[in-house]
Symmetry: C3
Subunit: 444 residues, 3 copies
């Protein structure tokens, strides 16, 4: 069985959103709802879509005022809503393989399962560092503001833990003048680095300094979240003029976007210099429920994908750096129609470009199957960047990697059955997709 050959490989998690303090401090998780419901927008969004109030789940509620057992009961009562979704697969995997619970979740079992999880969380075996070890996580990347001091990473590094915990340089707040706190964050960036971020040269130097800080703490990659991808190289004079306009509040939306579009290329050039792999996550329309956003803030389940034009959007970037030796750009999309039409042809051409795994809503058995169906024939397997779990749900990391590995095996078994290649090539590809591709794309 192909799956058996890859099932137990160590986990490489080069992109995700776990919280570094968890591992630096190693405190127990509070309760089952705080662990499995409150931080998981996959879970609470679907409950909300069928009328469950977020407040009843503890989302947007002060921890002291939450009723975690009630939240868990609500989940159990609505568990049929998750039939057919990857969330159900992940949580079932977590219950069985992390907590050893084989009973099916439902109204009748909710309390008993809650109690078992709650009891487990109080034990040392379920503290964050123990879980990293139990899960066989070799590398775990967090995603961190460019202004972060990375103290938790530094603290964790002194422990000699088997897992390598690495930060990821996420500069959106100081790169995109459209961000609400951009001007203030630019001042903080200047303060942190002793550079004058009101000049293009100073801004560049400050960004380089922060990248070096991240590299010193183990970072191997940057990450950029972009609603609508566009890139254009500007000469220094025009870029400085736009910077001036943005800093003095005279720039309109178009001018702000142009400066950001230019700075993405600057980031790619710095990546070519310092070796940090550049990740681009494009096409999520954020916070589409404005009332909810104003009440509870971002990441509450109302982010909806938007169509993307990767050919035109990445044109300025790729024509500037697409053949740069030593540069790796990993592209993630939520618009599957671009897999076969744009991203696979582009990844099969530009040396710098790798195609990231199916992202977010598409990180699912059918989503992965569609991805392989659409990209492999044009880009091959060796222009893919392997798997990212991209999660803030620590417990689900083994489940997500297992779902990927099963999907890889299912895809390759079918390719062998159709006669495209033999079992030896299939195993080589399976190992590449599980291990080698991520290791190479992220320089692990």
């Amino acid at each position: 069985m192909l799956y058996d050959a890859i099932a137990d490989l160590p986990i490489l998690s080069p992109h995700g959103h776990t919280v570094p303090e968890w591992f630096a401090q190693d405190r127990a998780f509070a309760d089952p709802a705080a662990l499995l419901i409150v931080p998981d927008h996959y879970v609470f969004r679907l409950l909300r879509s069928r009328g469950v109030a977020l407040g009843d789940l503890g989302v947007g509620v002060d921890p002291a005022d939450r009723d975690p057992r009630r939240a868990f009961r609500i989940l159990a009562e609505h568990w049929h809503l998750f039939l057919g979704t990857p969330s159900r697969g992940w949580l079932e995997h977590t219950l069985r393989h992390v907590f050893g619970i084989d009973d099916p979740l439902g109204p009748d079992t909710a309390d008993a399962i809650y109690d078992r999880i709650d009891a487990a969380l109080a034990t040392d075996a379920f503290r964050p560092r123990a879980l990293l070890e139990r899960f066989g996580i070799e590398v775990l990347a967090t995603t961190d503001s460019a202004l972060d001091d990375l103290a938790p990473h530094a603290a964790f590094a002194t422990l000699g833990h088997r897992t390598r915990l690495v930060p990821t340089f996420r500069p959106d707040a100081v790169l995109d003048p459209a961000k609400p706190d951009w001007a203030a964050d630019m001042e903080r960036l200047g303060g942190l680095t002793g550079e004058d971020t009101a000049t293009l040269a100073g801004w560049r130097a400050a960004l380089r300094a922060r990248r070096a800080h991240f590299r010193d703490h183990g970072a191997t990659a940057t990450d950029h979240a972009i609603d609508h991808l566009a890139t254009e190289w500007l000469d220094d004079g025009e870029a400085q003029a736009l910077l001036d306009a943005c800093l003095t509040g005279r720039a309109d939306a178009g001018a702000r976007a142009r400066l950001h579009n230019h700075m993405l290329i600057e980031m790619a050039q710095m990546s070519a210099d310092d070796g940090l792999t550049m990740q681009i996550h494009a096409g999520s329309g954020r916070n589409t429920d404005r009332a909810l956003f104003e009440r509870l803030g971002p990441d509450k389940g109302a982010d909806i994908p938007l169509p993307q034009d990767w050919v035109r959007g990445a044109d300025g970037l790729l024509n500037r750096v697409g053949t740069e030796p030593g540069l790796t750009i990993v592209a993630f999309t939520l618009d599957e129609s671009v897999y076969a039409r744009e991203l696979a042809p582009m990844a099969g051409y530009w040396p710098a470009l790798r195609l990231g795994p199916p992202w977010w809503f598409h990180d699912s058995p059918n989503g992965i199957a569609r991805y392989f169906d659409r990209v492999v024939e044009t880009a091959g397997y060796w222009n893919l960047a392997g798997f990212n779990d991209d999660t803030r749900a620590l417990m689900s990391i083994p489940a997500r990697h297992d779902m990927w590995r099963r999907a890889v095996a299912r895809h390759l078994d079918a390719q062998v059955a159709r006669g495209l290649f033999g079992p030896a090539d299939a195993e080589r590809i399976a190992r590449w997709l599980t291990d080698g591709a991520a290791r190479e794309a992220y320089r692990l």
Copy 2:
């Protein structure tokens, strides 16, 4: 077998285009061509695409001048053109299960089959009311102009027939200033309701009155056909100014569209009040063959889907009413690329939104398979609205529901085989998709 569990459930047909007079008057259908060819744009468009003249089929021809036997022969001679299409499946099902004809259709059998159908139509067993009963149709919705008196529905209601025949409120003619007869229809609307439709308040009151008239006749839903979906809430002053401009002919296309986009939200708000489920059918580019349209009018097979942007298009609507308790909006698209990218994420978030079944060209075995593949993982099964046959072809209703049920069973059998859930959950989902989902979405 999962299929067996749902094959004989009563038919719920909450959206379609049969003619209410058929059931009120219960006259025999004229002849096989008038029944199976002339009203079915699926059939005559494909014949036309291979050079058959519509006139030879009786389409656009005065009934007195038609040669129905000749039309039926033409269909039989070209029957191979339909290989692989759902139309072929529906008609084969109709011949076998409605008329008891097992011989394959072809040039050699055309006359004999014609004669058998023709003879059957002359019998009481093939009158409209008898067919409703034979087909096991529990609910049948028609689609009706907002100005309709609904007399056939009232007449049918007095009969005590087992089938519940319900109208659907379709206000496009009095809601969209771009419709050619809008101004005249607004006057008729005012006349019918005694309201001054030249004022926003009067227009609203008139629409509410007509909705009440429809509800009094059993309606549970409204329907909106929209080429290009866009929605924006306007304050009363701006809406009234646009209404003035539209009524006096001073409004350009953009102004007319803005008023319509606003009124869609007004309709949704009225639905939240009166409980009529709101259906949105978006993305059909109507009458793309302009010469044919001028000669024969609409619905002649030249409607071609257009790309849709549901995220931006429904933004104004959903931010206004997307969490309104008691409101159900059912979204239908002809642009499959939005299933996974937009509609499934949206239906998996907004409480008011349900995803309608694959529509029109996509109401087919592969179309249904792609739909489940793309929407379930993100929206689950419980944000789907079940099945609509959406047909004016009465004879094909059992065939269409049977095709859906077979596709549901095929999908769920595969899910069980992959281990996603067990047979009991599969049967629960199958019953939901066949019965419960439509009953709930349409308040039947």
Copy 3:
């Protein structure tokens, strides 16, 4: 087995890019790299995407300076990059069936395989004309500039060879004012035909003359390569004014595009007159790597598909000529999202329109499977134009047709298994898709 019924049918290749001089002159091919690597952008683009320098493969290098054995070794060393791609399938088929080489390609076997191919190429059995015969190619179409004298075709025609070698009229250079040499080529067109191409009437007459020249040399089709499809009929005055502006350099990009958009309809009208089937290849964004284009010119692997709007883009064309008797337009797209949404509904309506096979990146087992999945239910099989190999790689022609035939058989076997039709209909469709459809669409 369905495949067996079609495996050995003669090859019809009604669209491709082989070089007519090969067949007129019948010289031996130079070496394995000149045959299999240098002209094949599928091959060298993927090698380049993983860092191989094009120069090391001999691409863009003077033949005298190439090292073909080294290029072949590089391919063999990187052969795993092609796992899962159709290129690998085509080359494996070529090695086995054309050269009789069963050893798998790899670093260890590269030299021996190189030597066997090299030796074979020196023999008469591997000269172009012998290969045409061995491959069972009944018709082979080349693609030729409208200004071409077609001398090689004329010379080949005198030989009495079993293969019919036909040119294809490709007028882009003299039809699209955006082409860099358009004005000069218009003068050449005038000179060749004795017409004044500065007048609309003279331009039309010159184009008609060249079409007649092509028809005299056996052409049955035209071909148009279009980045962004748009069509609009202009009256003579407006068209002449645009022609004046374009010839005198006063036209902007929009004006140049409008003239080209109009001339596409003129071409369709000429096709309705002279019976040349009109091919439209729309949606390839050409030469997206501008530095490479400036260094090495076009067709170097950096063409990336663009989204297309066929409904609006072909609106002017189809409303003018879509029901013209005797006209066949074959549409090719690189944007699969339009298969089900636009092209299948359009081909299932307009008598003049046929849907070409999956093109370029989509000419692959999964690409073909997706094509059938998305188009057949709406357009049926009889609105499809069969298969085109569209290749300049002569050796791969049997492999490509074999891949199509296997994909056809796999699709139809599955349809039979699902009960859509029986084996006799399946074989009828298989023969249509392999032979009849191309013969009819291209009037062979």
